[in-house]
């Protein structure tokens, strides 16, 4: 069964270990500014919410890419950026209604969560299990996707 990231914001302490782990995995340096997962803090630090790509089935980013630089990894289900193909046009960054594809001005290309080829380092680094990597059925992914459907330009069947 395919796995996905299950995020429980109530468990997040806002330590940013996930951001460091993510940037280390992808950039070889501890650099939250280049992390694919981000923690957002609210209400004087009362709430903190880890946020990253849900690898949604619709994949607006993938479909919007003019040069096929975004490709679905069949093993993990993740939509990955092919760095050698991405030209940096940023269309995917505006097409993704979740805002989880970001432009990296250092490289002139985009970055997004790729589930670390099936071993997500954010989940590995999270000290409180606010981020875990589990069977997709457990993640409420359906619920998120339902919400996503509201965003959708997706053709509605049999309308």
């Amino acid at each position: 069964m395919q796995k996905s990231l299950l995020i429980d914001a109530d468990k997040c302490t806002s330590c940013l270990q996930c951001e460091m782990a993510c940037s280390f995995e992808h950039e070889g340096t501890f650099n939250p500014a280049r992390s694919r997962i981000k923690i957002f803090e609210f209400e004087h630090g009362k709430r903190s919410v880890p946020y990253t790509c849900t690898q949604c089935a619709e994949a607006w980013c993938l479909h919007a890419c003019p040069v096929e630089a975004l490709v679905r990894n069949k093993e993990t289900g993740a939509v990955e950026v092919k760095d050698d193909i991405c030209v940096g046009c940023k269309v995917c960054t505006i097409a993704c209604p979740f805002g989880t594809v970001n432009y990296n001005p250092d490289t002139g290309k985009v970055i997004k969560c790729d589930l670390c080829d099936g071993d997500p380092q954010c989940a590995e680094a999270c000290p409180t299990d606010a981020i875990v990597y589990v069977d997709a059925a457990w993640t409420g992914l359906d619920r998120m996707q339902q919400w996503a459907a509201e965003t959708d330009n997706k053709p509605m069947a049999n309308a």
Partner: protein
């Protein structure tokens, strides 16, 4: 069943692929009007800047990609359509019958009706061939004039600066990128360009171009001194490619008029992408967006309908993103505001940062951003879900940069609502 897709840009290619993947059988023919493998115009500027090679502009990279999907690619230009006899006539003389036809012929640059636009030294930048011409005709230090500081013009601008030419941009409108930026944003972009050595002339009209006789050209400007150039690149706008539809009975406006099923008024003929005037999500009116995401959505939706999966399209949201010499700008939806709506603006001209959010009641309906590169897409999310922002609207009226917090708070609520 014989499916024919005319046009091998993103809308056409995605439609052909979708037809194949839906698995309903039938023959799929993709008619490309250019001799190349299907490529992306979006990528041309990066080719000009020499960031990529020509094959880097190709829409698809897999060897035998089209063959594998059972898509036959033919390189022909369509001269006319016989909608009664259900066949296409090619300029080369051949013809091709269809059961279902998709028009995805895109658009072509238009040049202003002034003297000298047909001179050798005046180029468009639209096709791969145009790109080759510009590369061949511009060397570092050359004086190059870019006519038109619209969206396409600005993309080319980046590439021309990368080629280290002396660049002057002439724009008729009172600001740069007038189709995606208000005056404040356009002026910030112009200042940014000037600071990087590009001369920007707004509210300036070119009356004509002539040869000086030494290989250079002279541009006559209305009410201003004329200027010389080694090369003139014309990016003054595009129009949908519809000439071949004459006599077909297909209704057109700015583009081919289509309903929510991507159908034209003629049975079994559909349209998608830059040639189509489809529904705009925000205005509910027909419009040609000429943007990649719309082309992609049109292509997918048209294919489903052609294959018999009757599918309504909710309309496309206009959105643009542009990198002008490193300054990134974005616009969504009703970026210039909604009637009777509110706007929240944060502007820092010194640092070239700008964010404008437009609301109708407590719903986000359009945005403009300069200098924003992170989580930009949530603006689309909020606009397209028409999410009621409630108290978060007040927060955003105070500080529009709380957009991500507002999004997370509201999106999570929405997700709970569904759950």
């Amino acid at each position: 069943m014989s499916y024919v897709v005319v046009g091998a840009g993103p809308a056409g290619v995605i439609a052909a692929e979708t037809l194949s993947r839906l698995g309903h059988g039938g023959n799929i023919t993709l008619v490309s009007g250019e001799p190349e493998a299907p490529y992306s115009r979006m990528a041309i500027p990066y080719l000009l800047a020499e960031d990529i090679q020509e094959d880097g502009t190709h829409l698809r990279h897999g060897k035998g990609h089209y063959d594998d999907l059972g898509i036959k690619v033919v390189h022909e230009r369509v001269a006319s359509i016989d909608s009664k006899g259900k066949s296409l006539a090619f300029e080369s003389g051949g013809s091709l019958g269809y059961d279902k036809l998709l028009l995805a012929t895109g658009a072509t640059p238009v040049r202003p009706p002034i003297p000298g636009m047909d001179l050798d030294g005046v180029k468009s930048c639209w096709t791969l061939e145009d790109a080759r011409q510009i590369i061949a005709n511009s060397k570092p230090g050359d004086n190059v004039v870019l006519m038109g500081a619209g969206f396409i013009g600005c993309i080319i601008l980046e590439a021309l600066v990368a080629r280290k030419v002396n660049l002057t941009v002439i724009e008729m409108a009172d600001r740069m990128v007038a189709r995606m930026m208000d005056k404040t944003g356009g002026d910030i972009i112009a200042d940014w360009c000037e600071n990087q050595g590009v001369k920007v002339m707004i509210s300036t009209r070119v009356n004509g171009v002539s040869e000086n006789g030494d290989g250079t050209y002279k541009l006559e400007l209305e009410g201003k001194d004329s200027i010389n150039a080694d090369l003139v690149v014309c990016a003054t706008g595009v129009k949908s490619n519809m000439e071949f539809l004459e006599g077909s009975g297909i209704e057109t406006d700015m583009g081919v008029l289509i309903n929510e099923h991507m159908e034209t008024n003629v049975p079994d003929i559909y349209a998608a992408g830059d040639v189509a005037a489809g529904f705009d999500f925000m205005t509910d009116k027909h419009d040609v967006h000429a943007i990649q995401p719309t082309a992609s959505e049109h292509g997918r939706c048209a294919a489903r309908n052609m294959a018999g999966d009757r599918t309504a399209y909710r309309g496309s949201l206009v959105m643009n993103t542009l990198n002008t010499l490193g300054l990134i700008s974005t616009s969504y939806g009703l970026w210039d505001g909604a009637e009777g709506g509110d706007e929240s603006i944060s502007v820092d001209k010194e640092r070239s940062k700008y964010l404008r959010l437009n609301f109708k009641d407590d719903v986000l309906v359009g945005t403009l951003a300069l200098g924003m590169t992170q989580h930009v897409g949530v603006m689309r999310g909020l606009i397209q879900t028409k999410t009621p922002l409630g108290k978060w609207k007040d927060v955003l009226m105070e500080d529009p940069h709380q957009i991500m917090s507002a999004y997370l708070a509201c999106a999570q609520d929405a997700s709970r609502r569904i759950g």
